[in-house]
């Protein structure tokens, strides 16, 4: 697992209060991990803070699963 992937998972575990074993790449924040719309916004903000990137709203809307978050960040974090 990449460094980015493990940091992303740690944030999700902390913010959504879920077990690490549930945080697999296919898991959807809202359908599988119990996030509501505000939780999702908070997650994006935490990724921005952790990786020092700005995720534009139109990009944020495409991040709905753990795998999508990891892929986006691996591509955009320098």
């Amino acid at each position: 697992m990449s460094d980015i992937a493990s940091r992303v998972k740690a944030i999700i575990v902390e913010k959504l209060g879920v077990d690490e074993s549930e945080v697999n790449p296919e898991a959807s924040f809202t359908n599988d991990l119990g996030a509501d719309s505000l939780d999702t916004v908070e997650l994006i903000m935490e990724f921005e803070k952790e990786f020092n990137v700005a995720i534009p709203d139109d990009q944020a809307e495409t991040i709905g699963t753990v795998g999508q978050a990891i892929a986006y960040l691996e591509k955009n974090v320098k």
């Binding site: 913010k15 959504l16 209060g17 505000l38 916004v41 908070e42 903000m45 921005e48 803070k49």
Partner: protein, 417 residues
């Protein structure tokens, strides 16, 4: 239209002197002080370095971690005391009409800690607005009754009342009114507050409202004592379940007392100082008595606002003498803030609980920390100094007065068929 009778069927308390109602009452009748050095933040640069904090409270004992993180302390407190009250009342919501069960909740300020933290974080940044999406719904005062309704699925009247330190008394009066008008069967009422943080203590310190007796916190809240020097900040929550009498009887509920009157008034005098002659205080007590259809001869106990400030205690004692006349010297008076500190928007709720239990148990909790008589306080008043007193309590009045000049007072009576 005939008004319905309304009774108290459940109580919950999370206070600086006890985290449940039995612990709270035990603290009250034993004269326990809740004051101690502040642990929530480093208060070394503050004029006041002590307060009445809730002790040994871990939110995760009551709420799941993810949930607790999204709740300001004043809402965590509200949920915990309400849990106790719901269980105490034996309310089985599955078998009740939850469209006729409401929540009316008071707080003076709401999520001050949340506001402080978010704004501080913004101010320390580069100007990019990175506000947490939970900032607003975590901070707003009315989120407390919102969360209570969500937790139990209650779809009746739901809102908050705001009148500073009278807030939760106003909540009780509103709850009482809606039930006696037939608009609800049960209302979870009360209030909560949590302002022991930098913004809260700094703000009240700047007003010279707080005691600065840093060398002896436990005796700092000394209502009616000659050497009182301001109030002691407190925090916590009180829940009172009000229920329409027939509804309570039908489900075999235990009944603590009957709520029989609520009064409201304004000082129309100054933003923070009480009227020097206690005109607003006299009027609110009088309004509550009229609403209850009682005379001054019928009341045996007044749980006063009595914050331990120079002006406030003097004007309230004058108001009692002016309204009650000779009856003022017959009844017991006490300020339980001498023990709990001032719970601000939650004061009305926790002090009403003290009044309800005084009516139920025929015991008057004391005004502790009395050392020196104040020549400006009528010496004939029985202020229940230092030790609890046993006496028959047919009815008790509970007063609260808030910055802005808001006054609210409620009366509880022994329940009889």
């Amino acid at each position: 239209m005939e008004l319905k009778r309304v009774v108290v069927t459940g109580l919950g308390a999370l206070t600086p002197i006890g985290n449940t109602v039995p612990e709270y009452w035990n603290g009250l009748i034993n004269g326990v002080s809740g004051a101690a050095p502040i642990t929530r933040f480093d208060a070394s640069l503050f004029k006041t370095k002590f307060a009445c904090e809730v002790k040994n409270f871990k939110p995760e004992d009551f709420l799941d971690r993810k949930e607790a993180r999204k709740l300001d302390p004043f809402v965590q407190y509200a949920l915990v005391s309400t849990d106790e009250a719901v269980a105490d009342a034996g309310l089985d919501f599955e078998n009740l009409d939850t469209h006729r069960i409401g929540v009316i909740w008071g707080s003076g300020i709401g999520g001050l800690k949340t506001f402080q933290d978010e704004v501080t974080s913004f101010a320390l940044g580069d100007g990019t607005p990175r506000f947490n999406p939970f900032f607003i719904p975590k901070m707003i005062l009315d989120i407390a009754p919102g969360h209570i309704s969500i937790k139990y699925g209650l779809r009746g009247p739901n809102f908050s009342t705001v009148s500073a330190c009278a807030s939760s008394t106003n909540a009780l009066i509103d709850a009482f009114n809606y039930i006696r008008l037939g608009m609800a069967d049960v209302i979870i009422s009360g209030g909560s507050e949590s302002i022991i943080n930098e913004a809260g203590m700094g703000g009240f310190n700047a007003m010279h409202a707080l005691s600065t007796r840093n060398d002896d916190p436990a005796t700092a809240s000394r209502p009616f004592d000659k050497d009182r020097d301001g109030f002691v900040a407190g925090e916590g929550s009180g829940t009172i379940i009000l229920e329409e009498l027939d509804h309570a009887i039908a489900r075999g509920a235990k009944i603590y007392a009957e709520i029989i009157g609520g009064g409201m008034s304004a000082d129309a005098n100054h933003i923070t100082a009480p009227h020097p002659e206690g005109l607003g205080a006299k009027l609110v007590m009088s309004n509550a008595l009229k609403d209850a259809r009682l005379t001054t001869a019928d009341v045996d106990y007044i749980n006063v606002h009595g914050t331990s400030t120079g002006l406030g205690d003097k004007s309230e004692s004058k108001a009692i003498v002016a309204l009650y006349g000779e009856d003022a010297y017959r009844l017991n008076i006490s300020s339980t803030k001498s023990m709990t500190g001032h719970l601000l928007g939650a004061a009305g709720a926790v002090e009403s609980i003290a009044a309800i239990l005084a009516v139920k148990n025929d015991i008057i909790p004391p005004t502790i920390n009395h050392f020196t008589d104040d020549p400006e306080i009528d010496p004939r008043l029985n202020l229940t100094f230092n030790t609890a007193q046993k006496r028959l309590v047919r009815a008790a009045q509970s007063n609260t007065f808030g910055f802005g000049g808001h006054n609210a007072s409620v009366i509880f009576r022994k329940y009889e068929d």
